[in-house]
Symmetry: C2
Subunit: 392 residues, 2 copies
């Protein structure tokens, strides 16, 4: 294969951009040959925006069976991600899935197991923020042990402001039946993936979610989650969609140093010359007093500051370039598809903790999660029916 | 009365400083006439460091009964704070109590009720950080409604680094029987008071405490707490004593603005021209895109930055000046004694939440708290006995 022929399922907001980037030649050795959408109006959009030879399908099975594509990019609503990926993998197509990998881990696991049985296929996740050199550098610093064993992680990421008008744009938005959640399903998966990619998976989750906080929606739009890691380290993850002055502050505290990322742009890395464990063993309380009132910390640590500007506009294209190279040249994937289950696991654990009002250990009972989710889907449908009857 | 004659109970680390400040004339119209300590070695210290006419007592009841003092400053271990305050108030002495007000709310409530029945007495708490003009200014901004109704509060205050040597200095430190807790009883009460002073009392608490994290102690030295307020706002409070590169970051997010305090020194106040509630009603998703990719937030808000340097050295003296003026001139107290119960309530709720592994509503069952505390005190004594037997 010299060129990868792409088909895209779902040409809404993200899928539309992906198709224009591919059609515009932004990805070397990749060509857009087909797009698919269940919305017939999208056919007109495709005719207007995409080259004439890009074929439009209104049924993704037909596109997968067409023989016209080598790879599929799935950019549909979340529930369908693993469903369509399974169909694509079963047809031996390389598969790239928009985040999140799915709504619930049970289905994502099924997708992953199939993908693992097809090692000749490239299976990737559109975790575009993994292409950000800033987070790549942070991951490297942590993985190198430069800040020692992690003790605490804190991410406050409330820059996902969305007004009511956003939620009112489509009836599936911010619903249990349409998205399977709110900020945890739609906006925060980016940071949840980076958080676990850099700091590892937690083993216990306790989350406090607020549903429809300052917005007329039924799903969560305000999250405060506490996690524990296997080594006893702790973490918090805070996100919401109602803070127009949003904060983005990620701090990782280790035995040998600390990393602070502000605004996904400015990085401060403090590296202790001796680990806290060693300092704790030898320092007296008089040393502490000197430290905080007098001499300061400069003798004990070095501080490095740097900025890496935001690359948002090219992140998605870079994932597609990486995915295409993986197919053509065997380049390792930045975001293997099977990684997608990690963020879904964390988000599911947060939902489950909130629903049950208790700590949730990872791995959790996937059937229980699904049962609780189905309850909320059914309640939502019931409420919708009642509302429709009232307006009759 | 033209001058207030002070007696100090407990001349350890803090009480020793207080007695030197008073004896040194730092507080106008206040004079130190007596000190008291159960440790006989402190008599030598007093003879050496304090003026000859300052009388030394080894029994605080004798000092309270002496007729030589008008006011008492209590700087003993925490459990004794309300016990001694009750004796002092019963003898119609003005009473100033070191923080925390006590170890458990039940006893603090008894002290408060007595104080309320004696309105002719001045009853104050040594919340020295309330004298910091920075926090006075923040309180004013919030109370004025300049940032609107509060939606979220976050305080990460991990600058309380203490090495093992600190804990090993005295056998009562960081024990259930000696202090009734760890960082929540000793270090963090300062910020817990400021937090509730500025943002109000929470109505629900969920805390994850780690006991003896990276230190050989039995009490908590690592706290991650989640709270909810009556209006649905949320908050987190994070503290620990094992972070030598400690963070001090306090953020208050309101409907009309945001306050960020970094290092108890640098303040950034963002004020929205229209409230988020109003912006939410009128902005479209296209506006959001413009906001975050193009024009930025400058049209929507004003940002004020200022720094107020640390006043630590004079904070305690300022509390004593305020307390003395309250006695002589009726000046309002910055920190009324009855306010002390608020921080103890929050700290107790955090302990109880951790012990029970569940959410704790405020007000909580004070008897249950005491029962759980007594369990830990008994276990600690048992373990101590066993350790002593082993070394015989």
């Amino acid at each position: 294969m010299k060129q990868v022929r792409f088909g895209i399922v779902g040409i809404g907001q993200m899928g539309g951009s992906h198709s224009e980037w591919l059609a515009g030649g932004k990805v070397e050795n990749a060509v857009l040959t087909a797009v698919c959408d269940v919305n017939p109006q999208k056919k007109e959009w495709a005719a207007e925006k995409l080259p004439q030879d890009v074929k439009f399908y209104d049924n993704y099975i037909d596109m997968l069976d067409s023989g016209e594509i080598d790879a599929v990019l799935i950019a549909t609503p979340h529930y369908d991600h693993p469903v369509i990926a399974i169909e694509a993998l079963n047809r031996d197509l390389h598969t790239l899935v928009e985040k999140p990998a799915g709504v619930y881990t049970k289905k994502v696991r099924e997708m992953n197991e199939l993908a693992e049985s097809k090692p000749h296929l490239v299976f990737g996740m559109m975790f575009n923020q993994r292409t950000n050199p800033l987070y790549q550098r942070i991951k490297e610093i942590v993985a190198n042990g430069e800040i020692g064993e992690i003790r605490r992680t804190n991410w406050i990421i409330t820059t996902w402001w969305r007004p009511q008008a956003y939620y009112d744009m489509s009836s599936w938005r911010a619903t249990w039946n349409g998205e399977g959640g709110g900020v945890l399903a739609n906006q925060a998966p980016h940071q949840i993936d980076l958080w676990q990619w850099i700091c590892g998976m937690p083993t216990k989750v306790r989350a406090n979610l607020q549903y429809g906080s300052h917005r007329n929606i039924v799903v969560e739009d305000d999250v405060t989650a506490f996690v524990e890691y296997e080594n006893g380290a702790t973490g918090t993850f805070i996100t919401c969609t109602h803070d127009i002055m949003g904060t983005d502050r990620f701090e990782i505290h280790g035995d040998k140093g600390k990393i602070l990322v502000e605004g996904s742009k400015k990085v401060t890395v403090s590296r202790l010359k001796e680990s806290e464990t060693e300092l704790n063993e030898k320092m007296t309380f008089a040393d502490v007093a000197n430290l905080f009132r007098g001499q300061g910390m400069s003798d004990l640590m070095d501080v490095e500051e740097f900025e890496i500007p935001d690359q948002w506009g090219t992140q998605h294209i870079n994932v597609m370039i990486n995915f295409t190279k993986a197919i053509l040249e065997g380049t390792p994937l930045l975001a293997p598809g099977t990684d997608g289950i990690k963020g879904v696991t964390i988000a599911n654990a947060m939902h489950l903790s909130s629903w049950l009002g208790q700590d949730v250990e990872i791995p959790f009972d996937e059937d229980l999660f699904l049962e609780e989710l189905e309850k909320r889907k059914a309640e939502e449908l019931e409420a919708k029916k009642e509302a429709e009857l009232e307006t009759v």
